[in-house]
Every structure is written in structure tokens, then in C-alpha cells.
Symmetry: C2
Subunit: 684 residues, 2 copies
């Protein structure tokens, strides 16, 4: 009696012996090798492709030859003809073992494959969605043994997929008989969490989709992904229609407080927007809305509560109690959003009253809880949500930055939209500005600017523009370190003009129908308050950890992605850090939602991390006030900003020390001058 053949799988390296005649798929399963399959080994889905190696493998001590596998079978021929099969590939469910073999399992055939993505910056993670498809053949009903269709479906799922203790949605029970009939007792089901049958299709069904959405107070952005392979097929955003009830978060809470049906109106509005977003994502991806089986949502606590129909007013005052700080499981049916009737909704957990599910998303995307280096994550909005820590401890807090960073309560402020000034440079000598406008390519001092700007006009200044202009005003010596627009500079430039008992700086003259845009003393104060709050919050967490510096900074969210990190540090928005380690995290909240959509493990991970995060309430910490007051000036004592001094020339420390006559920066700062950022004109 011959011994059983040896089989080795790569890349896992698992090996063992199996009887002749075993399918490669069964051999893999026996040896604990991960090979995908939806059709259960019927040669339909093609997910279980493998590449047999040919040759002598001294290292492994075996010779793998073509005749050690069964001949190409009819199923494989059919599959090759219908769907294509590379020359070196076999269907592991069909090919059987005849002798020693070395079998390579390509990445796309592994159940837990790594995600590969082109345009989205997403960390590596294993795609393992909470929903899986299973194709089964159900035993037809029989007069003699009159079990129900559902019981026979469950029997098939247990027999073929070892799924037990299943339950089915009522809508699946409804769809069951027609699916069995038109599929001739062959159906594909979608099983959620290995337990709930949430969808059924006649015959073999290959594709299901999910959508991850970040509900911002201004913008709602979503990604549509294929749940089978983790590929992102479409991304889209819509305005948050709640804006008509209030530009910023607190004004929406006020609206809810003042109007009996206010919260409900806002709930309806955001749900309708999600409904529309699903339609446009499905349209972009060329799929049917009814093929969307899972939604994952993040948002700040107020967006979170309004979405779920929970009154947000308790979040408007101390003790800022969340209705729930757990992940919420619901359904599109319950939220009134049209998708598949079985579509589930998973909402990431909020962390604290001002630290929302969006921050949970940021944590999931950036994983500070695994970091060796001390990492600061900042997501700036009306409140800045701040996370600081590393793999040892993680702290979270929120700081009341106010709406200035979003362009609100700023004289010429507006949302980041076409026509808004987003980049500003001020010549240190002439004090003349130049700027760039969203939607317009040339800078304002380029010859073609006048033509290019015709369509949008120059309508205002957005958050990142405000940061830059104030930083530049400070660097040009127009704004003092106390945040005063220095009226004596009016002698050097007609742009510094009196305004009530203070001064303003005229950034844009407002020709050709565009308004005149100036930075007022009030604007500078608003930014000072905001940046001081943010810095004080960060500082408080640093105190809590007993550290003086952070190693890595990630700026998340729309504002965080747009601001120039150097300017942000010039203003003291963020603590000192090597600028090479300060980066935008893009829409990290949305990325986190996408990861939670595609990975079951990620949900467990974030739920655990959120429980462990130490929540710091800035409002009860007396040191917060002290830090806040200290942080009002620009910039902070240089001792706190060693890195900053190496990259930008700081202005004179006081009017007494340097050219109050307005002739420009002194020699000391000039010697240290370096380019501020790409697009900055050298003015030395």
C-alpha cells in the first residue's frame, strides 16, 4: 500500500499528507489553509483558484509534477470559457491530489486578503467583512417530509457551510420561496455575523456592497465598497442639509432647544441626505441600490444623535451626557433609508460628550493605540477633538475652539467653497498680499488671475485661509505677538486701515463685484481664542501624560487636510513637533468608517479601544484655563517651539526690539529665513 501523497501550500508553508483523490480545496481546509469559496466547491465562483508549482523543491523535499493533479476537468473548462482562467491556474474545488504537490494560493484566493487601494490612503488591514455570501443547494420540499423552506435552507447551510444557530429576517422568509423556485433550489444567501440571514438571491450571486459614511456638520461623505474584495468603487459627498437649521453644531442644538419639532426636522433632513447619497454612490458605481447590504456611519456626537433620532440638547450643556457610548446596531429600514430590505447599519461608538464616533473613526484609521511614538490626532471643527497617546495609554478630549476655523464669525469668513481664499502670502517688505482662491488655479498676482477668477469671484475667506493670513500678518510684523493689528504699520502700507478703534488689514479690494475682504481685529481675536482652546486642550492631555513634546501629529478632517502645517505651528495651533512628522490624515473619520465596513475585527478593536480611552473633560480641569490664557499670544515662548524656529523666521519679539518703523524684519530673523511652504515666493 503506497503512502499518501504530501502536499505543501505556499505562502503559508502548511504541509501534510492527504489521501489520493482529495480535492485541493479539501486538502487546504484539512491543513488549515485559507482558501476562499462562495459556491461551496461547485466550480461556479472561481474564488478558489490556485497555482500548482512544477519542479523539484529541494527545500521542501518534494517533487511537484503536473501529473500529480487530476486532469483538467469539465467544470474547469466551462469556467475558463465563461469567466476566464489563467493557463497556470486550477480550481482547487475540482482538481484532486494524485501525488506530491506544491500549491501556491494567490492573494485573491485567500479569505483574509490584504486590501489594495489606489486613490485612498488607507492603512493595511485584512478585508473580512461582517457579511459573507454562501451558495447552497436546498433539498426540494417533499410531501412525505413536510419541513418548511427555511428549515431546509438552514439544513443546507449547516451541511455545506457548518453554519448553525442561524436566524432569518422576515423579509428573507418572504423572499425564500420565490428564490428557491426561480433558482431551482439553488440560492445564494448573505449571512451577517455568521448568524443572521439578511438576503437571498436565486442561483449564484457574486457581489454585495457596503457604504461607509462620515456625517460632518457641513459635508456628508461616503465610500461605496465591494464587500467581497474590499475594493472602493465610488466616493461622493453631499452638503449636510441641516445647515439650513444652523451653520455650526451649537446653533443646531439651539434650534432643537427652541423648536419643539426641531430635532426631528434635522433627523429627517440628514436621513434624506443619506438616502440621496446612497443613490448617487450606487449610480456612480453602476450598481443597484438594493445591492447595498451594509452601512457604517461615523459623526460627531451631535450628528450621531440627530441621525439616530436622539435629542441632542443634553449634549449642549454640562455634564454633556451621551445617550449611549456604545456602538449602535440598527437598520436602514429603521432609519428610513432605502437600500436592500435587510441592510444593517453599524454606527461606531462615541467616546464622550464632545468626542464622537468620528474620532473613533480617526483612531481606527490611524491606530495610535498601536503606536510606539507619542501621537497626537486633532480633528478641528466647532470643537476640536483631540486624541493623544501611544500603545501604552490613550487620552481623548474636546476643546471648544468655536466656529472661527470653519470660517464662521469671521468678517469675511465662509465655508471652503469655490471663491473662498484658501492660501495667503504677505510680502514681508511691501506688506502686499497674494492669495489663491478655491476653484481658481493661478495666484492673485499672476497675469491670468483676473480672467481665471471671473467665474467664481473672490467671495470670502475659508478656515485654512484665515490661519494663513493671520500667520502671515504675524510673520510680517503687522500683528503683534499679543494679537494686535499694529496701527503704526499703516504708515508702511495703505492696506492697514483704521476700523472703529482698532485696525484692519485689507486682503482683497473687492473690484468687479467681489466684496472687499479685510481681516479685522475681531477676526484675529476669534482665531486667538480658537487656537488657544485647541492648544490648551492638547497641553492638558500632555500634562496628564507628563510629556513635553509629541512625536507625531496628524491633522484630520477637511480643515486639518487643508491647513498648512507650518502656518498652524506659527500660530501655535498645534504643539511643537518636527514638521516632517506633522501630516494631514485626510478624512480619517471616513477612512475609519470604511475600515469598520470591511473588517469585522476592526469593529471589535475600536469598541475595545473606545472603552479604554481615558476621557478628559476640559471644562472641569483648572489647568485648562491656565493653559488657555497662556496660549493666547503668538507664538508661545520659543522654548516650547524649538522646531518652529528652525523652519520659519519669527518676527521681532516686540515692537521695541525691531523695526517699528516698518522697514521690515531685522537682520537676525532674515538670516534664518527659509521657504515657508511650496508656493511661497522668496521675498529676500
Amino acid at each position: 500500500m503506497a503512502t499518501d501523497p504530501q502536499i505543501i501550500f505556499t505562502p503559508s508553508g502548511r504541509r501534510g499528507t492527504v489521501p489520493v483523490g482529495t480535492t485541493v480545496l479539501d486538502a487546504a481546509r484539512t491543513l488549515g489553509v485559507d482558501i476562499d469559496s462562495v459556491c461551496g466547491g461547485r466550480g461556479i465562483c472561481g474564488r478558489c483558484q490556485v497555482t500548482p508549482a512544477i519542479g523539484q523543491f529541494a527545500k521542501h523535499g518534494i517533487t511537484s509534477s503536473p501529473d500529480h493533479l487530476s486532469a483538467f476537468a469539465e467544470l474547469e473548462t466551462t469556467y475558463r470559457a465563461e469567466k476566464g482562467l489563467a493557463a497556470d491556474r486550477r480550481l482547487s474545488c475540482t482538481a484532486t491530489v494524485c501525488g506530491d504537490l506544491l500549491i501556491d494560493v494567490p492573494p485573491e484566493s485567500q479569505v483574509h486578503r490584504q486590501v489594495v487601494r489606489k486613490d485612498l490612503a488607507v492603512r493595511d488591514f485584512t478585508v473580512d467583512p461582517v457579511i459573507r455570501l454562501h451558495y447552497v443547494e436546498v433539498v426540494p420540499p417533499d410531501l412525505a417530509s413536510p419541513t418548511g423552506d427555511l428549515a431546509r435552507l438552514f439544513e443546507a447551510l449547516e451541511r455545506e457551510w457548518q453554519l448553525t444557530d442561524l436566524q432569518a429576517d422576515l423579509q428573507v422568509v418572504r423572499a425564500l420561496q420565490p428564490a428557491l423556485e426561480s433558482g431551482k433550489n439553488r440560492v445564494t444567501v448573505a449571512v451577517h455575523s455568521g448568524r443572521d440571514v439578511i438576503a437571498i438571491w436565486p442561483g449564484f450571486h457574486e457581489s454585495i456592497y457596503g457604504v461607509a459614511i462620515d456625517i460632518g456638520s457641513t459635508t456628508i461623505a461616503g465610500h461605496l465598497a465591494n464587500l467581497a474584495d474590499g475594493s472602493v468603487l465610488a466616493s461622493a459627498g453631499v452638503m449636510n442639509p441641516q445647515i439650513r437649521f444652523g451653520e455650526d453644531l451649537m446653533s443646531r442644538v439651539s434650534y432643537a432647544m427652541m423648536h419643539p419639532e426641531g430635532a426631528e426636522e434635522m433627523t429627517k433632513a440628514v436621513r434624506k441626505a443619506l438616502d440621496g447619497l446612497l443613490a448617487s454612490l450606487a449610480n456612480k458605481a453602476g450598481i443597484k441600490r438594493a445591492e447595498i447590504l451594509e452601512l457604517v456611519l461615523v459623526g460627531n456626537p451631535i450628528m450621531h444623535h440627530l441621525l439616530l433620532g436622539i435629542d441632542p440638547t443634553p449634549l449642549g450643556g454640562a455634564p454633556f451626557a451621551l445617550a449611549t457610548d456604545r456602538a449602535v446596531h440598527t437598520s436602514t429600514a429603521e432609519l428610513g433609508i432605502r437600500a436592500h430590505p435587510g441592510t444593517r447599519v453599524y454606527v461606531l461608538p462615541c467616546i464622550a460628550g464632545h468626542v464622537g464616533a468620528d474620532t473613533a473613526g480617526v483612531i481606527l484609521a490611524e491606530e495610535p493605540q498601536l503606536a510606539e511614538r507619542m501621537t497626537l490626532l486633532v480633528d478641528v471643527g466647532t470643537n476640536a477633538e483631540i486624541v493623544l497617546g501611544d500603545k501604552r495609554r490613550l487620552l481623548a478630549a474636546s476643546s471648544p475652539t468655536g466656529p472661527a476655523f470653519e470660517g464662521a464669525q469671521i468678517s469675511g469668513g465662509q465655508r471652503a467653497a469655490p471663491g473662498a481664499i484658501e492660501r495667503v502670502r504677505i510680502d514681508r517688505r511691501t506688506l502686499e498680499p497674494r492669495f489663491r482662491v478655491i476653484g481658481v488655479d493661478p495666484w492673485s498676482d499672476a497675469p491670468d488671475f483676473a480672467e481665471a477668477v471671473k467665474e467664481t469671484g473672490v467671495t470670502g475667506i475659508c478656515g485654512s485661509g484665515i490661519i494663513e493670513v493671520i500667520a502671515e500678518l504675524y510673520l510680517a510684523g503687522i500683528v503683534t505677538e499679543d494679537g494686535v493689528i499694529d496701527g503704526s504699520m499703516a504708515a508702511r502700507s495703505p492696506r492697514i486701515v483704521p476700523n472703529d478703534r482698532t485696525f484692519s488689514y485689507v486682503l482683497s479690494d473687492g473690484t468687479e463685484g467681489s466684496p472687499r475682504i479685510a481681516v479685522t481685529q475681531n477676526d484675529v481675536r476669534a482665531i486667538q481664542l480658537g487656537k488657544a482652546a485647541l492648544y490648551a486642550g492638547v497641553r492638558l492631555l500632555m500634562d496628564q501624560l507628563g510629556i513635553d513634546a509629541v512625536d507625531e501629529i496628524r491633522l484630520a478632517g477637511a480643515f486639518g487636510s487643508q491647513i498648512d502645517t507650518t502656518h498652524a505651528m506659527v500660530l501655535g495651533l498645534i504643539p511643537d513637533c518636527d514638521l516632517d512628522h506633522v501630516r494631514s490624515a485626510g478624512n480619517a473619520a471616513g477612512t475609519g468608517a470604511l475600515i469598520a465596513l470591511l473588517s469585522r475585527a476592526a469593529r471589535t478593536e475600536i469598541e475595545t479601544v473606545v472603552r479604554q480611552v481615558e476621557k478628559i473633560e476640559t471644562a472641569v480641569e483648572s489647568r485648562f484655563q491656565a493653559h488657555f490664557v497662556e496660549a493666547m499670544a503668538f507664538p508661545h515662548k520659543t522654548a516650547e517651539f524649538p522646531h518652529l524656529a528652525t523652519v520659519v523666521p519669527l518676527p521681532p519679539r516686540s515692537r521695541d526690539a525691531a523695526g517699528v518703523d516698518g522697514t521690515g524684519p531685522d537682520q537676525r530673523t532674515q538670516r534664518r529665513r527659509r521657504p515657508v511652504a511650496a508656493g511661497t515666493r522668496e521675498d529676500a
Copy 2:
């Protein structure tokens, strides 16, 4: 050091020692004695009342004296003043142990109390609903430890009630903050299955309700019960509005087959009727509809499928496959029925294609699976659902009796409604009938009948009336044992009249605007077909069990409750049995639903029994045809009906053997004559 006092609880007899100062409630729990509490020992709910015994109890070896309990406390005084407390009662949550005690736990303080009911015939069972109320004090939110409201509620439920792994409906999360606020952090929650928080109220909330409904094809009947104590507060019925789509089940299936939206229309109609029934039950009971937290439903397979929105057409043809034969868990929200937003719906499992959840209800009410004696349960409708067995084996089948028993396809037939003839006696000598009409008290031969019947008229004949008239016609010798209306009898009575090539018997002349009502040869044939199908089905199950007789018969459903058992046996509708052991089970399906509403254990029980029941498909059993043909005659060979012969005088075996001249029953039968049933006039 004194030894700890002894405490003995009656009626359980449990005893033990507890330290001085232990509350009686805690002592009970320590010793495994069952005392109820909703408020968690705060002296609010009064559920934990006990009666301390006073005296020397030699049997138990202790002396229980009044000063062995703590003095009457303020909480008890308050409770007595507000809600009343009998002189001998104490609140066990408040009274503490000071010495040896004998404590009686009255039935109403036991968690698992026995149901006591006045007007409903319901077997004994333990009230232990799937929903329980828990009153808790939630720690208020705190700036320094910003956990969510839900997490703090769950903490309180774990601390005070040892409930873990809870989850909450989104609607509860929504209602949480307002409830905590208006209840000053004291709330009552309803917990379903020890796992799902489905409702929340501010402060202490005492009462929740459930509704058990039997959806018949003609009538929908419901009971509203208090889930806390199992008392039934209201019962009501409405017509099934699906009647407008078809009188009997098969015509409704045809309607669904013929009309694309037909099933959906019927689904909407029945759900709307349930919605209305809930309103009228709540109204009758004087409660709010929103206090109804649980619905339990039963119905035959077609009613079951239509209710749940499942296409019933597969039930219209072989192999009669149910979409599901498992219990269905859904919600009023999903069914579009207004109740509390968290109201759950439990639908009992169907057994087979023609043996529905209503039969599961009948089994739950009658418990044949526990019977020592061979028990037959019959629920007659368009199909007769038949259950036969005892604690060893249980079989179920359905027989196609057709709609004749419901008054359909009978010349003068109608539903059991005012104006319908329901009782009939025929004078064996004069061949004159007398009858009783639903809604009219006197019999038709009483002097005051003409006056009494004016309001309703005599509009037709219902199922039980048809059984009686045909049995009486047979007993009077007008119908032969082959089921022929004997034309030669026309010589003896003008009521026997020719009709086409057969004869009819005129039951009511149709004076004063009421129609003439006659029994035609076709009517007799329809009843013969129906009763033969029913008997053949029963016989088939008897064969399967290898038995020749049954010990107990229960007739369930509207028809079963109305028919006279003797007449039913005369026709051979049911097998021979001692008539003392043939009883109506009333609306046993509805009673079963009520038991499932009030007892968690009953649900587990019926789900297990339904899986174990042996399902017999009459359509595939060749013996069914043989039995059917044999059962066409009236009555069967007397050998099969030994009991019958002892209670009613059978007519001559054939025209040859006895008075075809119409002079009346012969001497042999006269000697054996006895009263047929209450209300039968002795005509000898």
C-alpha cells in the same frame, strides 16, 4: 455569641439560618425561595408582601413571634397609606429578621404564580412572561466620568438585577435621556428574554400588557392580559376582512394567484384588522394601546403566511411547502400595527402545509403530548386539522373537509351569525322539525318564537345546524345510510319534496320575508364528503398508531364548540368514543396563544413538540382513499361505534328491515331510546 436565627418559608418548606438584620426578601433569595419584586426592594411595588406566622410550630421546631421581625418601618407605613397593606402583611424587602420566623409567601407574591381565571377555561400553567419589569436607580452623569446614559442604565441593571449582556432598542436609547430626567434618574425598564431592553418609563411603572390573537379565516379573536399577573382584562373579536377576497381559504389562495397584488391586499387587510382589534381591546380594558408590549399570534398556515406578507400560493398545491415551520419573531413596527414602539410579536410555529400555528396553539392548550390516554384533537374548518396521540407519540394531519361545515356550498348555508339555524330536532313520527336560531332564545315550536324571531329572521343554516339536521334526517329514517333522501317518505310528510331528480326536505317554510330553507340531496352529499374526509384522516392516524379506539376527543374551534357531539358521532364525523370523554375545547388555538403570551416555558415547549410531531400527509397515503370511500355511509358499521349504539336509537339498517311505511322507529330502537342531548324533546 448567639447563633443565627432560623427562618422557614411556607408553602415551599425551605429553611435555613440567616444573620440578624437580613431582610426577609434577601433571606428568601438566599434560601432559593421565589418572592416577586419589581422595585428591587425599595418598598414601592408591594409585590414582595409576606405573612409572618405567629406561634409555636412544633412540626418545624421553632417559635415564630411578632418581635422576631423588625418593627413596622416608615416605608411600610407609607405603602399602607398609599396603596393599602393588610394587617398581617409585611413588605419582605423592608422587614428584617430578629429571631426565628415562619414566613408564608402568599401566591400573589410568588414570581411563578399559578394563573387563576374566571371566564376562560384555561389549563393550569405558571405565569412567567417573556417580559419583566425592573425598576432601577441610575447613577447620574458626571463630568469627570463621561459614560453614556445607556452604559449607566446597564450598570444599574447589572448591579441591582444581575442582568448582563443587555442590548437596547434604538427607540429606548431615544427615550432614555427624557425618562432619566423626568424620573430623576429612577426609571423602570421592560426587559424581553432577559436580554433586550424594549421599553423605559420614568420612575416606577407597574403595568404592562400583552395580547394573544387567533387569526381565523372568518373571525379574529384576541385576549388582552396583564403581563405582571396573568389576568385577562378583555376579550374581543372582529371579522377577518379578508372575507371580501374569498369566503374560504382556498378561494383566498386563488385570489392571490389571480391578482398580482392580491396577497399584498390581503396582508394589508388582516394587519389593519389586528390594528383595530388592539385598539378595541385596549379600550375595553381601559389601558393605552402603547402599554401593549407583546403580541402572540396563531393562525392556520394561509392566515399565517398572509399575516407575515409571505406568498401563500405554494400552500395551494403539492407539496404544500411552508415558507417556515419555525416560530417567527417579529415586531408590530415591522407589521405596521400600532402599539408600543418596542412591541415584539411572537408567532407560534406552523406544523405542516395544512396544519398551522393554530393547531400548535390547540396542542399547547390541551397538551396531548403529556396525556396518559389516547387523545384526539380536531379543529374543523375548510381543512380539518387533526392531532392524535399521547405522551408516547403525537401525530398530526390535515383532511380536506371542504367548506360545507362552515355553511358554504350548502343551499341554505351561511356563517354562524344571528338568523342562522344552529339546532334542529326532527320528530321521528311526524317528521316535523323544530329548530333554534342564533340570537333567538325560544325554539321554533314555542308560542313566542314568531315574535322573538322578528328581528333576525331565519336567514339560513350554519355548520352546526347542518350537522344536526342531517343527523336528525338520518335518525328519522328520511336519509338512508347511503345518504339518499328517501323519496318514498314523501307519502308520510309534505316536507319531503321532489327537486330535479332527487328529493329535498323543507326545514323552514320561509314566511314573513325569511327565505324557504331546505336540505337538498346535494347538501347531504357535501356533508358526506366532508365527514368522510375528516373520519378518513382520523382513521389514518389511528392506523399509523395501530389503535382501534381513542380515549378522549376534543373538538376545537368555533364549529367544534357548537356542534352537538352525539349528532357528530351519529354522522360518523368523529370516531367512536365514550361520549363523556368527548368535549368541546372552545377556542383552544386562542387559549394556546394566551398561554404562550404568559409563559416563556410554554414557547420552548411548543417549539420542541412541533418538531417532534409526526406529520402525516393524507394526500400521499393510499389508505386514506380506502378509508374515505368506506366512511361515506351513515353511520359506519356499528362494530366501529359500540358507544354510539348505547346512547342514540339508530334507524333501521335498511328499508327492507324496518318500517318503510313511515310509521316510526321499530320496537328494537325504541327500547334503546334515551335523551339525545339537552333541549331534545322526547317524542315517544
